[in-house]
Symmetry: C2
Subunit: 418 residues, 2 copies
């Protein structure tokens, strides 16, 4: 039985993830993977490893013929891309955890893989310890993958959980999350939905073979959600989650977005509290599957990187079957969404864009409505991200043209019009 090949690793980044990885590899000689050199930015910083391991010159790693794997766990997107590009052109396999970089350079990364035939693995870039990428690659290629819905950002999920459970305002919940290390000092990337968007672009590729540009996906974060919205959810026996969703429509197109969503108490995603992540995969043969675990943090991330390293020993690489071996799916912008809006003034809402509004209320400080709107009135539009408007999807938000027609016909009949 093969025990796999020897890996000599060049590591970029020695923060919490990089250092954790170094320690674990050190303690696992059976893996036959050793870090030969680590490239860091700041040579003056004290490190818990022998000084001769470190360099500030990336070429010491990238052009060392003995190094056959580059592991990249740095923060900056553009330098990360340059590293993985040079590494692959130099014949080295790559493991990366940089979600922003991958989301922004997906077409180039795919091309690099095709051109070089080398593995580029990135399990740590989405949901960290949940092995979602490899499971999407290996398990759902032949099934009819109906939908995938996920909570992919632990920081916003922690904030929403706190707002919900402790009846506190968004700003206070953000503060709590920051104090506990679940949100960055600048929480914009998380709370405005960018982090979730980047991860979703990566998962869309492995789930459906779609290579989307970040600006092609309808998304928002949770920065507009009010405590009063959480109270509305409670009344309805529901919770609010930032849900990344992709659903196959009748015509084969894929509706994909990252938006706050009302989630019923019995829904799998309602189980996901605090800083955890969860992924629900709906497929034709295996029904609903639910994966749950820590989606961020040094150890869960290091653990995902480690599993990629272990996979490289038997030359594992993503096959991207849905992209290269099937007719790849395409994004659709032709569907309707059932949305809840809470807002201050009726004037801020383009009521004429709604197919119908089925419920509305006016409280003292805040008004709200539930209605059905075509996605084109939200996508690339800014009105709903302004004026202190909070938009949250209904639990089964997607309505297709044919369903819409049926509902409209029925209500006309009920009204005695036809």
């Amino acid at each position: 039985m093969s025990t796999g090949k020897e890996l000599k690793i060049g590591l970029f980044g020695f923060g919490v993830v990089g250092e954790g990885l170094y320690r674990v590899l050190h303690q696992t000689p059976s893996l036959k993977a050793t870090i030969k050199k680590v490239c860091i930015k700041d040579a003056t910083k004290k490190r818990n490893a022998p000084a001769e391991l470190f360099t500030t010159n990336k070429e010491d790693l990238l052009f060392d013929p003995e190094i056959n794997v580059i592991v990249e766990v740095i923060n900056e997107s553009q330098p990360a891309f340059e590293i993985i590009q040079t590494a692959m052109l130099q014949g080295k396999a790559v493991v990366s955890a940089s979600k922003k970089m991958i989301a922004e350079h997906l077409p180039e990364i795919l091309e690099l893989q095709q051109k070089t035939g080398l593995p580029f693995l990135c399990e740590a870039s989405a949901c960290a310890s949940i092995p979602v990428i490899r499971n999407l690659e290996e398990y759902y290629d032949n099934d009819l993958l109906h939908a995938i819905k996920a909570i992919v950002n632990g920081s916003t999920n922690y904030i929403l959980t706190k707002m919900f459970e402790e009846n506190i305002r968004f700003q206070d919940a953000v503060l709590q999350a920051q104090q506990l290390g679940f949100a960055e000092a600048d929480p914009k990337l998380d709370v405005e939905g960018f982090d979730a968007l980047f991860k979703w672009i990566i998962l869309l590729n492995h789930a459906y073979g779609i290579v989307a540009n970040p600006n092609e996906i309808l998304f928002s974060g949770i920065q507009q959600i009010q405590l009063s919205d959480a109270l509305v959810a409670k009344e309805k026996q529901q919770e609010i989650k930032l849900v990344a969703q992709a659903t196959k429509l009748r015509d084969g197109g894929i509706a994909a977005f990252v938006l706050p969503q009302f989630v019923k108490k019995e829904d799998h995603l309602a189980f996901v509290k605090n800083e955890y992540n969860g992924v629900v995969i709906e497929s034709g043969f295996s029904d609903k599957q639910f994966f749950y675990g820590k989606g961020a943090g040094s150890f869960p991330t290091a653990s995902a990187v480690l599993s990629d390293i272990a996979a490289l020993r038997y030359d594992y690489r993503y096959e991207y079957k849905k992209r290269y071996q099937h007719q790849p799916n395409v994004l659709s912008n032709d569907y309707y969404l059932k949305v809840y809006l809470s807002f201050e003034e009726w004037d801020h809402i383009p009521k004429e864009n709604f197919e119908w509004i089925e419920e509305w209320h006016a409280h003292e400080t805040r008004k709200y409505l539930i209605g059905v709107i075509h996605v084109s009135h939200l996508k690339d539009k800014t009105w709903w991200k302004e004026q202190n408007i909070s938009l949250i999807l209904a639990p089964q938000p997607i309505i297709e043209e044919v369903e819409l027609k049926k509902i409209q016909k029925k209500s006309l009949e009920l009204a005695g019009v036809s």
Copy 2:
């Protein structure tokens, strides 16, 4: 980019799983996997496939040099083993769904793999659509795998859910399960815990590198559980589940058993209702992970078989890293269990074997106690499987020697003895 090799499949068994597989492969030419021949027992039965596909002579498959993969989804254990043995000796990769056969022949199957270097994949044999085997192989090898707890039998879980939610007796719940197809006409294999035991033996191997014989594992089913036990659970805000558990002890030994267990409402496993399965993996780096999905049925099983077939295209095989590349773990029989017992007569209980009994009650028809007992008083003993005794583990059931001593010392101090 490689698109994998062509697979020519010889299929044993054309029941619901086999036929489902045939249909799906037929509809997925991109997989480059075709069924060349199907071996069946009953040639007279009408089949929904061309007659020339079928044979009753297994040698037509096993000795056809063109066939490079044998897929085996038959029910009988001994014939299944003979098939996979001959297949591998003939140089063919094998995919099997026969949990009983694998559990009973594990040492021989491992030897066959080592001897031939060929893949033997069996994702469908445990938890079907939940990809637990491959995840244990790939994701938890370098982590400290603290524990794995799972609901691996959907039939008993359905019965327990019904008893609990509808306040009905065991026998009535079994009847309901049978009517809905969630339990066999002869439910013994499921309700007495054998099916869960076989699956657990397979998972112990992939989780910890342990090759256990079925008679080495402490187990029981749910056949003794009373409606009154379910009511006790409800009072405590808990549920009863048939839990397969393996936990690493302080000395590195593994405590492994399959027993009914009280599960707290907030526990991941309490989320698993009806015929579903769930697996909780506790590891050093990724904290708790939870996998949930359908563990049986034709489509979930076919879906798991299919994922194995897809993996064969790039020559995937289990490395059994924990067995061959690490010091393999060993089963321990040196720990204590906190148990709940309900029974009819005090005389049926060997009270002298308990370290202590911390709670006891006598209702009109039924008595119960909660106490701590060394595993050796349960393992290979029959008293607790007789006399209408119902044994259910406490939520955190394992107590090690050192903890026991501490607790005893403290209670002696409290009693003013030392």
